[in-house]
Amino acid sequence: MIAATGPRIVIRSREDFMVGVARAIAGALIFSLPMIMTMEMWQLGFVMDPLRLGLLLLVVVPALVGLSRYGGFRSTVCLRDDIADALVGVAVAFVTALSILWVFGQLTGEMSTREMVGKVALQMVPGSIGALLAQNQLGGGKGKEKRRKSNPSYWGELFLMGVGAVFLSLNIAPTEEVELIAYSMSPFQQVILIVASLILMHAFVYLVEFQGSHSRKPEETFWGVFLRFTVAGYAVVLMVSLFLLWVFARTDENGLQIILIMAVVLSFPGAIGAAVARLAL
């Protein structure tokens, strides 16, 4: 990876790193406070199957590494540095979640270790994503710390869409409302919701000229781009929705049909999250 034309690798100063950590704390707070201050999320810490919670945490680490690749703490040199960034994000999210939950009186001596570990572990998911995103989106970057322009590959774009979907649907997936909405919709409304998700997903990125919006290259057709990015992205969002519903045990006692409708319902915010991720990252 290191070219022979004499580019150099600098090690960031202690001050710059501490500023980065401070930004990461800010990001963890911004992104996880809505979830830290929600009762259902505390309860999930002990209600959730420990194996599924462990798996969620395990999946988050490679997702963070990927996120760091496309714009994290700094212009990373190689994968090892992205792993370091991801783990710093995890550490920051842990300390932030632990402190806030304790200040709010949600970690007390009357609770078992299992309950406390579960509560903090669950909050580390949004917190660590927030910690990495903040570095990317809130980072000022003076001079040499200027953030690189990310230009992800096709698979990178799909990956970012998946992370965006996780981000927006993480605190919606465990709620009763997803199931209630799924029961309330007629088949016609279900189809409308799928079509609306696809249209919004496409429009956010290509039509509504937000900063960072993409434009179609001259050689590409509308349907080509729509299929390759929007439809494929929606498929990723659906998979993410199914995974989250399973992690939060929403699939356990329901039939296949209602599970699929729930996935479509959850994919609505997921699709918006995916589109925003493409714009923002």
Binding site: P7, P50, G54, S75, V77, D81, A84, L87, S112, A121
Partner: protein, 139 residues
């Protein structure tokens, strides 16, 4: 991966390396992930999900303006969380029920405890107090 191209204003810069301090933070994060996942696995296999096992104990009684409050501790010694736990109490004189009181706890997690307050107008110490777990649901 062609996303490591340096920006125009830092032509010679390939990237920012990882400092020893950052590795300290990163190692802490790595240890945390391994420890938490390890703990969750451990707790799943040593205490596989079972059913809630609830017991209730009276701890103290305090005089308040409207009568007396009995503070009771509810323990869940089982390996599953209980939701909507209803604690009912009766103040009796032999066969006669003088007063009834009831409290509901949203959740009592496994291996944890919660407190409830049960209020009476008569002094519980002068009668017989019976507190029991009446019902719960699974979350």
């Amino acid at each position: 991966m062609n996303d490591n191209k340096p920006d125009n204003d830092s032509e010679e810069l390939l990237g920012i390396g990882t400092s020893p301090l950052e590795w300290v933070f990163a190692s802490f994060g790595g240890v945390l992930v391994v420890a938490i996942i390890g703990y969750l696995l451990y707790s799943n296999f040593t205490r596989p999900p079972g059913i809630p096992n609830l017991i209730v104990e009276q701890t103290e009684t305090q005089k308040v303006d409207a009568g007396f409050v009995v503070i009771a501790h509810v323990y869940n010694k089982g390996d599953a969380a209980a939701a909507g736990v209803v604690i009912s109490a009766e103040l009796r004189d032999g066969e006669t029920v003088l007063e009834e009181s009831e409290a509901t706890l949203d959740y009592v997690p496994q291996q944890s405890q919660r407190r409830v307050g049960l209020q009476f107008t008569r002094a519980p110490a002068e009668h017989q107090l019976q507190i029991r777990v009446q019902s719960f649901t699974r979350p």
